[in-house]
Symmetry: C2
Subunit: 243 residues, 2 copies
């Protein structure tokens, strides 16, 4: 059962300010709810339409499991074909100690889909964390969660001022991706100490972060495109570092 | 000047069936219209709000240049912040002869954003063409054009039955991307003969196309993500072949 007031509340969680205020976010889909169940995240409630109820009954001793109607599922969903499964999750602490690389540093990634794809790719290549500048889009944005395909439950995502983070972790080698650096193919990465810095989709890395970085690296162009998509550039860096 | 009927017509071109019927598509944005002007595509009309008029006046001898209001621009736009520049373009012939690699073969890519990002990346890495299965999403979908950032004017995109195309071009080496092939890092690509086959986002490469391919290749996983996004996997292949 779910009340109208509850539905209203869950819909509000699509906005960052309400997620911050209440310290909770909503996820949607069978697979990702299962990923959450196998993670260290605290699940507060699972809502499901009747046909998926048996799938989640084994967890009902520890987690509140509630039935919803197809119509309510459609109201809650951000997808074209809702699966009828939702979970309300507590936003974990941002205080995660990162001692080892490889890691990604994201300097003002704006597009929620890009952020999700970057997290999924960093997870695939076994990166230890994704460090986001405070002005990077929120990891609990529904589009980011969707694009990350469960990887937000596999790899820590931390928000900080990048310069502060870099200062505190100066044992890392910081590689800034730019249009005029050293060919990435010629770099011999010391994987456990590697931090790749990715800049904003339109404007690249901010000046201060660029200046603090140890080396500039570049993915060489052979054709005519003006630039690479930020998630694409990131994935090629991840592959070069730990592929 | 633009009439209500013309606006209605241009809005219809967002749908594939009308683009096919009339053999035309609409693009939007200063940069991409300039890319089109420097391509072999036939531009039928450019519409612009007054503030961008001088930018396109040098072309007004050969191309119909029309002024529109801010309000009309907003009506026509698919973007949050319209730049007020549009061009109507003739869909070129699909009969393009491809004699040399590297090329990409896309087997049922469904997401328009993925297709655009793939075309942009293939362009960056100097690929000679993108061959799409007939059931792949339309290259002239507004979201595809947007994600491709002008690259649809740099690199030929051809639609065909993939098996037919492979049969006609059997001098190519066809590398199928799968989850259980040879590590892509160990492959020594003969660049001019290389064709990389990319499968559907959810189901991978179709059985017939997979069987016809010469080799299966894989991007090895180091972490926990279940899969890579199709555009990400493609970009890493492009980088390995011609990066």
């Amino acid at each position: 059962m779910i009340s109208k007031t509850q539905i209203k509340y869950l819909l509000k969680l699509r906005q960052k300010k309400y997620r911050k205020l209440h310290g909770e976010f909503l996820i949607e889909g069978k697979k990702i709810v299962q990923d959450a169940l196998h993670s260290s995240f605290e699940i507060k409630t699972i809502w499901t339409t009747p046909e998926n109820l048996t799938l989640f009954e084994p967890y009902s001793n520890n987690i509140l499991l509630e039935e919803i109607t197809q119509q309510q599922a459609e109201q809650l969903s951000t997808l074209k074909s809702p699966e009828g499964v939702f979970a309300l999750i507590k936003i974990p602490s941002n205080e995660i100690k990162i001692t080892e690389g490889p890691v990604l540093l994201l300097d003002f990634i704006q597009d929620p889909g890009n952020l999700g794809t970057i997290i999924r790719t960093a997870d695939w290549f076994g990166f230890k964390a994704v460090i986001c500048s405070n002005n990077t889009v929120d990891v609990f944005n529904p589009k980011t969660i969707q694009a990350a395909k469960g990887s937000i439950f596999h790899i820590p995502v931390v928000y900080d001022e990048l310069l502060t983070w870099m200062n505190k972790h100066n044992n890392f080698d910081f590689f800034a991706t730019t249009l005029s650096g050293k060919d990435i193919k010629t770099i011999d990465f010391d994987v456990n100490k590697t931090a790749i810095v990715i800049g904003n989709e339109a404007n690249g890395i901010s000046k201060e972060v660029l200046n603090y970085s140890d080396k500039k690296i570049t993915i060489l162009k052979k054709g005519q495109a003006e630039s690479l998509n930020a998630a694409i550039a990131t994935s090629i860096c991840c592959f070069c570092v730990n592929g």
